[in-house]
Symmetry: C2
Subunit: 623 residues, 2 copies
């Protein structure tokens, strides 16, 4: 095998049904074309899954993938991706996650793991320096993540082991169950934890001591040094108390803070939900992912009666929004508790919070009654209720069993107009950014292959303001764009930016580091020796986006699924956006322009020439 | 005015009809979007010319433009562009030229000159450090370029003046008259010299002492130093005796050397046409353009009876091919003489040579007779004839008057089947690379906005071979491609590569320097301070290519004009390609794929969304 710098050269394939373990060695061009992470996921899901399989059957595959930079001491690259057909959307499922697990996997000798089939009884994988074992996990089944990690480290006798795993949420096939790395980091969206649960795979424990080869050590070192000495400072300052710090009131004032299931604008409690509150009133420390000086990750500790265990980190902005304003709650400790439970049970905080907000609105509108809630007063603002419901969802108890299906299926079950309170796209719950405010991001929600998604998306406020133009001018975004704009210039920025972010999700570079259109190609050149440019990398992103689209088309998701809930075409009930909403004609036009700029037909189907340009004409068989 | 590093900030507009001189200061974004050179030309021709004007009327504009790097001591940037509606094609006319004139123009205080109208009597422009004068040139009219330059330097009293000018070829409106800089460098194609002649503008003399501002001196110096100390060496070696050196026999052997008006393959005299012959048998020295250590430019001196004056440089590969093998001539001294006359009279050597080759084939087929030639035996191989005909063309004497119209119009005039010997696309004569051999370049000939063109084109042999993949992988060309391949992967390479080259023609970077997809953005960043990338620059190229297309569509050139002469769909009469030709169906398909990959309709018309992506929706009014 040719050495490809940046990679180990090994893809691990584990068939749990037959307990077969195989190591594959793809050719150099595979690595360069698909890069890693979301790129590998898109490749294998298209190549290897049969059309129409049940995501929770043994026919699904679960892919853990690193990228070209994973495992090097480059700030912002301590990430990995997890992918499968999503049990939430029935389409392309993929999520990225920080921490240390991805780097450890690389050091343990693998670029990616493909999990096939289903174990007869619970198992976990133990990967150490190229050696792979399938181990009994019956004693771990039913246990929360913290317990599992402790037991695994204990029984394998190495405290430095890194564990990616599911808790009871994954075991109970909560459709938005996530996978938890290092107890604090979630591959949150798309229900990857449910797929892991359906395979009876409790955890993947890894430990590695391999050194990674670098093509140009000196250049890489210089690049990292430059960042670690000076470059990180503004970013560190920006994330001094993590995501959400200093912006909650501002978001509420502009209508950007999802409030009471995206119904309202005003939220008086926004100030209380600022991470500054944790800093002042809650035990808050900050920690980092692998090799990153930014330390954006919160760790909170709260005593009686909340008992929030610092083992499980602390809430990101998304969790604060989902359990806070979105449920009408202005109690930061309750939010921290709900977040802790999500990590303990491995369920996605966004989907959980939005499912609970949905239930609250159904309750306030008489669609859910005290009978359904077993007497629980499910009004917006009931902090105890959210904590109780997170538990019930994870364990699929009572109303929790319905909400564990996600809002789309729950609304179908509840009927009586519940559908209009189901805030999702393609079945995935909407993240904590208001599409009536950031309208470009709203289009991103509608077209994202994983359903409503805030990661590989454009945040209108940060792309196109005067200050950020300096950076984004590198891809030709030369003029400021209004947040409410849906014109083609805005959609062009969306297309370029989402393609770039999908590339970063293949390469697995964090968005909170300053590595941009110029830095990333430089770093990839230094690590891999590939003579790459922003052009090639942008095309990798376009390739990945397009492959994910083709996967969805194969599974029956079409143009009609590229749309937002009705609510967003009407104003919020109060606040800054009490008179503004998305114009449906402009929105439709924006979607069409997205298709056109991507080289897709008016039905949102990639054209043959676009597939050929991207060198993925092999996927045309699926159209 | 905001200072835009890389530019002076002044565009000079001279109306010769009213003798009005104006200086304009475009905004920063104009500079960044259109960069310079071909970009400026495309912009002004679209904005300011009325549809359907006669290219040789006072309604045409003649634009001289530099780019962001012109005038800095960066190897390979001593170039400028000249553009106008072409009298040869009736479409987009543009040519680039090396030397020192462009740098001098920048130093004299201008980024570009727009010439409007027509002087009543011959004039020349005198530009010195921001001062502009329109001066009488009646005493210069009729004189050859060498005389004119000497007189101007003498009368203005400065031997360091740089002159761009026309000789009698331009005065006589030879449709492929060129503009000559520094006597040795030709803005050769598209008939720009005829436009200059039609305006009664004999010359533009410039002298400048302005220092140009640099955004990041240190980085720029480092980049140049790196090149001047080491990087240039392989390029210098490659061009030790200029273009054509060491390749003539190899070209003949592969069928790539146009022979007897593209009729034959074998050419026994190829060896004699190698610049190595000049080195051994003719006085040959090498010189350079502004600030370039590569020194690829030949200067030849030949005594009696040829009397080739070294003042006029020496022949490039194109001239050697056009007057040599293409006319069946294996006499290097005759070729040097023909080339000298082209520079003296300011006519394009490619079009002149191909026009003479056409006449020879007409003569051998009885379409031209001794009556037409005034007794001259116009057989292939008659060296004296070519020299005589160059003179006759430049002065429009006898048969020369017909050939001065270019082969397309000449064939229309001669009739009797002459058309099948007229080797042109859109009226412009085909350069010295065989499209039956380099088939990707053949598609490039067909679609080039200026008609058959070898500059902003792909040379199949150098893009897609194993060795060059290393460089071109930067834009995602990862696998070797066959010269005879016309599949979509090849066309993708053509699209990317022609767009990049059109960007280089806006920036005005020579193709013979090693500045590539990584270097160019670095250099542009250092000079201008723009935070640009290969992505943005590639899109500039796509923008320029598209604007040129729109210009042609406005002027009535359509899909049907994107085609090659019939000859290329049949084999050569002898040699390596005696059994191979271009397959017309594959070729048609290749053209369609080019359209698709460019985001154009099946009729070759840029789509509205493509125009909007490129931020040139203002041109849609011309479609």
């Amino acid at each position: 095998m040719v050495i490809v710098y940046g990679y180990i050269g090994n893809i691990l394939r584990v068939n749990l049904t037959g307990e077969k373990i195989r190591i594959e060695h793809p050719e150099d061009l595979f690595y360069r074309r698909y890069i890693g992470g979301e790129g590998f996921v898109a490749y294998y899901l298209l190549k290897e899954l049969k059309k129409g399989i049940d995501p929770l059957s043994d026919k699904n595959e679960l892919i853990f993938a690193t990228g070209a930079l994973t495992g090097y001491a480059i700030p912002g690259t301590g990430r990995n991706s997890v992918g499968a057909k999503s049990p939430l959307t029935g389409g392309f499922g993929e999520a990225e996650v920080g921490g240390h697990w991805g780097a450890e996997l690389k050091h343990a000798g693998f670029d990616a793991i493909i999990i096939e089939g289903k174990a007869k009884t619970p198992v976990y994988l133990w990967i150490q320096d190229g050696e792979v074992q399938i181990k009994d996990a019956r004693h771990l089944w039913g246990k929360v993540t913290g317990e599992v990690e402790a037991i695994i480290k204990e029984e394998l006798g190495d405290p430095l082991i890194r564990v990616a795993q599911i808790g009871p949420g994954g075991e109970h096939l909560v459709r938005y169950a996530c996978i938890i790395n290092d107890l604090r980091n979630a591959a949150g969206r798309s229900g990857m934890g449910a797929v892991m649960g359906s395979k009876n795979l409790k955890a993947i424990a890894v430990r590695g001591r391999k050194r990674l080869k670098v093509s140009d050590k000196e250049k890489l070192r210089a690049k990292i040094r430059e960042f670690n000495e000076v470059g990180y400072k503004p970013y560190r300052a920006n994330f001094e108390y993590g995501t959400g710090y200093g912006v909650m009131e501002q978001f509420a004032a502009s209508g950007n803070l999802p409030t009471r299931n995206f119904r309202d604008g005003d939220f008086k409690g926004a100030k209380v939900l600022d991470p500054g509150v944790m800093k002042d009133e809650i035990g808050l420390t900050m920690e980092s992912c692998y090799a990153c000086p930014i330390r954006c990750k919160k760790v909170v500790e709260i005593g009686e009666p909340w008992n929030v265990d610092p083992l499980y980190g602390g809430p990101e902005y998304e969790s604060i929004g989902a359990f806070g304003s979105n449920c009408g709650i202005d109690d930061m400790k309750a939010v921290c508790k709900a977040n802790e439970l999500c990590n303990k049970y491995s369920i996605d905080a966004i989907s959980a919070g939005v499912s609970i907000g949905f239930a609250m609105e159904c309750y306030e509108n008489g669609i859910l009654t005290d009978n359904d809630t077993n007497g629980m007063k499910l009004n917006f603002g009931n902090a105890e209720a959210i904590i109780q419901l997170v538990e019930m969802i994870a364990k699929r108890e009572g109303l929790g069993d319905i909400l564990a299906e996600g809002v789309k299926r729950a609304a179908e079950k509840l009927k009586n107009g519940a559908e209009k309170f189901a805030m999702h796209v393609k079945g995935q719950e909407i993240p904590m950014h208001e599409p009536r405010f950031k309208q470009g991001l709203g289009v991103g929600y509608a077209i994202s292959p994983t359903g409503a998604e805030h990661m590989a998306n454009m945040h209108d406020t940060s792309i196109a303001n005067e200050r950020s133009i300096a950076t984004h001018s590198a891809i030709g975004i030369l003029e400021p764009l209004e947040v409410s704009d849906l014109g083609i210039k805005k959609i062009r920025a969306l297309v370029y930016y989402t393609n770039w972010r999908n590339m970063l999700n293949a390469l697995l570079v964090c968005y909170f580091t300053p590595w941009d259109y110029i830095d990333v190609p430089e770093i990839v050149r230094a690590v891999t020796g590939w003579y790459t440019s922003s052009w090639e990398l942008m095309k990798v992103g376009e390739r990945v986006t397009t492959m994910a689209r083709v996967f969805n088309l194969r599974e029956g998701l079409t143009k009609k699924d590229d749309w937002l809930p009705d609510r967003f075409f009407k104003p919020q009930t109060s606040g800054a956006l009490a008179k503004t909403a998305i114009n449906p004609d402009e929105f439709k036009n924006a979607i069409m322009n997205y298709y056109k700029l991507m080289g897709w037909s008016e039905d949102g189907i990639p054209t043959q020439s676009k597939l050929e340009e991207l060198e993925i004409d092999w996927v045309s068989q699926y159209l």
